[in-house]
Amino acid sequence: MSISWLKKFGLVAMCFALVLGMSSGALAAKDTLVVANMYDAKSLDPHVTPDVGSAHIMVQIYETLLKTDDKGEIVPSLAESYEKIDDCTYRFHLREGVKFHNGEELKASDVAFTFHRAIEIGKTIGFIVGNIDPASIKVEDDYTIVMGTKTPDTSFLACLTHFGGGCILNEKAVNEAGDDYGTHPVGTGPYKFVDWQKGDRITLTRFDEYWGTKPAIKDVVVRAITEQTNRTIELESGGVDIAYAIPPLDIRRIEENSKLKLIRVPDVSVQYMGFNCSKKPFSDVRVRQAITMALDLEKLNKAVYRGIGGPAYGPIPPRLRYFNTNLSILKYDPERAKELLAEAGYPEGFKASIWTNDRKERIDIATIAQSMLAKVGITVDIQVMEWGAYLDKLSEKQHDMYLMGWSTPIPDPDYAVYGIFHSSQIKGMNKSVYSNPKADELMDRGRTLPDGDERRAIYEELQTLLVQEAPWVFVHNGEEVVGTSKNVKGFVADPAGYHKLYTVSFEE
C-alpha cells in the first residue's frame, strides 16, 4: 500500500466518524427533567398493555375519572362528582372545559368510547374492565355519563383509578391515529407526548392548557436504562435527575452521596411461595403450615432483599385498605413444623420441588428455602425455568411449590384476594388450586359490601383464615425505591409504581 492509500483510508475512517457523530445530544437544561426508567414503554395505548414501564409514561399523559390521594382514598379527577344509582350503577359528572392535548374538549362521549373500546380490545386489562356492563354505558348529556357492572362490585370505583383500564381517551384522536395510536397518544394530563426514540427515550412537554396545576418543569425526558447499576451511575454522574427501581446493592451508595436523595415507600406487592393444594401432600393444611413454620422469613428477607421491604404477613399488603393489623401469623418454629409433619403422616419428611422463573431473587429464595426445609426432613429440588415456559407449566397445575409475585395496583382489597384464592378462579389466576367454601363466601360478600366496618370485618376474617390455611407462604412485601438528585423537590413515590412527575420542581 502506498502512503496516498493510507491517507485515503484515514480520510474515509474520519468521514465515518463524522457521519456517525452527526446526531447530537441535547444538553439537559434546568427546564428539563430526565428520568431513568427500567425499560422502554411497550405502547402508550392503555388498552394494549398494562406493564409498569409503559404506565410510567402514561401516568403523565392520561387521567382517569377518579384517582387516589396520598392516603390511598379515592377522590374525584376528571369526574368532579359521582353518585351511586344502585348496587351496580353509578352516574359520573365530568369537569367542564377540560381539554385534550389535541384541543378537543373532554365530553361524556369520549368516556363512553373509551370504555367500549377497553371492553372490546383491552384483553390485557380484562381484570380491570371485565365486569363493566357495556349495555349500562349511557351518555345522558355532554358532561354526564352512567356506567355500571354486570354484578355488584365495590372495587369498581377503584378500578376506574387504574392507569390502564381507567385512562380516558379522545375518540377523535384514536380514530385518526388508527393502528398507530400507541405511538401517538393524546390525553388530558399535565404533560403531552412529543417524541419517542424507540428503545432509548420518550420526550414529553408541559400541556399549557391543562385544567389543573401546571407542572413547574417544562420538559420531561424518560430514558430506558435496563441495566440497574447504570441507572445509579447516571444518577451519580448527573445524567439523570430521577432513577427508578434502585437495586438493593446501590442503596448505601446513594444514601452516602450528599448530592443525592433516596426515597423509599412500601409498595403493594407480595412475593410468595404457593402450594399446589390439589396435590398430596400439600392438600393437607398441616403440611402447608409445617412448611411455613420451617422457614425463617426474617433471615430469608435479610439475605435476599438486604433490608428492602420485609416479611409479608398475609395476602393484603400493609398499605392497602383493611390490612389486618392484628393478624396472628405462623411463626418460625421448626420443631412445631416437624410435629405437624408427623401428625400429617410424614415423620421422615418427603421429597418435593420448587419451581421458579429465572429471576435472581426468586432463585435465591428457593435456594434458602431448600436449605431450611432440609432441616425438617423435606428434600427440595429446584427447577428454574424461563418465564414463558414457567407460565405454561404452571397452567398445567402439576407443580408442587412455586415462587411468584402478586401486585395490587387497584386500591381495593378485593383485587388482592379474589382472583388468586377464589375457587372460581382455579382456571385462571388461582395457581395454588385453592378451594375453601368459607374463604369463597367471605370474598363473595366482601366484593359486594359497601366500604365500612362490616366490609373491614369480612376482610380481616379472610386474612386470618388465609394465613392459617396457608395456601401460600407469604414471603415478602416490597418497596418502591427511587433515587433523585438533591435539587429535585416534590417527587412523591407511588406505592403502585405510578410515579407522577408533574409535581416535581428543581430547587433554585
Partner: protein, 309 residues
Amino acid sequence: MWKYVFRRLLYLIPTVIGVTFIVFLLLFITPGDPARMILGDQATEEAVADLREEMGLNDPFLAQYGRYLYNAVFHFDIGRSYVTHAPVTQEIKAAFPATLKLATLAVVLAVVLGIPVGIFSAIKQYSILDNLAMVFALVGISMPVFWLGLLLILLFSVHLGWLPASGFDSFKYMIMPAVTLCTASLAVISRMTRSSMLEVVRQDYIRTARAKGQKERVVVWHHALGNALIPIVTIIGIQFGSLLGGAVLTESIFSVPGVGRLMVEAIKMRDYPVVQGGVLYIAILCSLVNLLVDILYAYIDPRIKSQYS
C-alpha cells in the same frame, strides 16, 4: 461479473425462505404461549384460549407459516408486533440505525487497529511487541464482553467522568460500546492478518522484490498485504455480519436501542412476528455482506474476477 452478482442475489431467495422456515419451526416447538405472555400471569385460561384463537395460533404449523410467507412475499407485510401492535418493519427500522452505527464503528476500529498490528507482528515475528500483541489478542478474544463493558463504565464514567454510562444520543455515547464490541473483532483480525502475512512474506516473489531493491514499505504494504488480503477480508465480513445481527450484551449494558435487544425482548415475550422479522433482516443482511465480500475478492485478486465472468 454482474451475472455473478445477479445469480447470488437470486440465491438469496431460497436462503431466506429456508432461514424463516427453520426459525418459524423453532418458535412453534418452543415452550411458551404468546397469548399468555401478552395477557400476563393474571390471565384466565378462557382469555388465553380466546386470544390464541383470535391470533390464529391454534392453526396447524404449515397453515401459519404459509400465511406468513404469503403476506411477506405478495403484500410485503411481515405483520405487527403482538406486544406493541406496531408494524414489525417499524420496530426494526427504529432499532437498525443504532446497530448499524455501532457495528460500523466497531469494525472500522477493529480494522484500523487490527491490520497494522497484524502486519507488524508478522514482520517482526517473535519480537517482544509481536508477543505482546498476540497476548492482547488472546485476552481480547477470551474476555467476556459484559465484563469489559462494565470495566470501561467504571473507569470512564464513574471514576473519570469523561463519558456517559448509557444511552445512544451522540458520538460520545458510542465510544465505549464500540470499543467493547471491537475488542474481540480486533483480536481476530490482527491474528488473521498476522497468520496470512506470515504465509505470504515467505513466498519467492517477496524475496525477489526485496532482491530487486524494492523499499521494505512497498514490499509489505503493496506486495505482501495485497496477496494476504483475501482471508483478512473474509474475516472482516464475518465479523461485520455478526455485529449487524446485534450485540445483545453490549446493547443491554450500555442501553443501546439496537436490534440485539429488540430480538431478545421479542423472544422473551414470544413476539413471533418481531422475531421472524428480525431473523429475516439478519439473514438478508448477512447474505448481502457475504456478497459484498465476494465482490471485493474480485477487486483484490483479478484471477477471481475472471472466474466470476
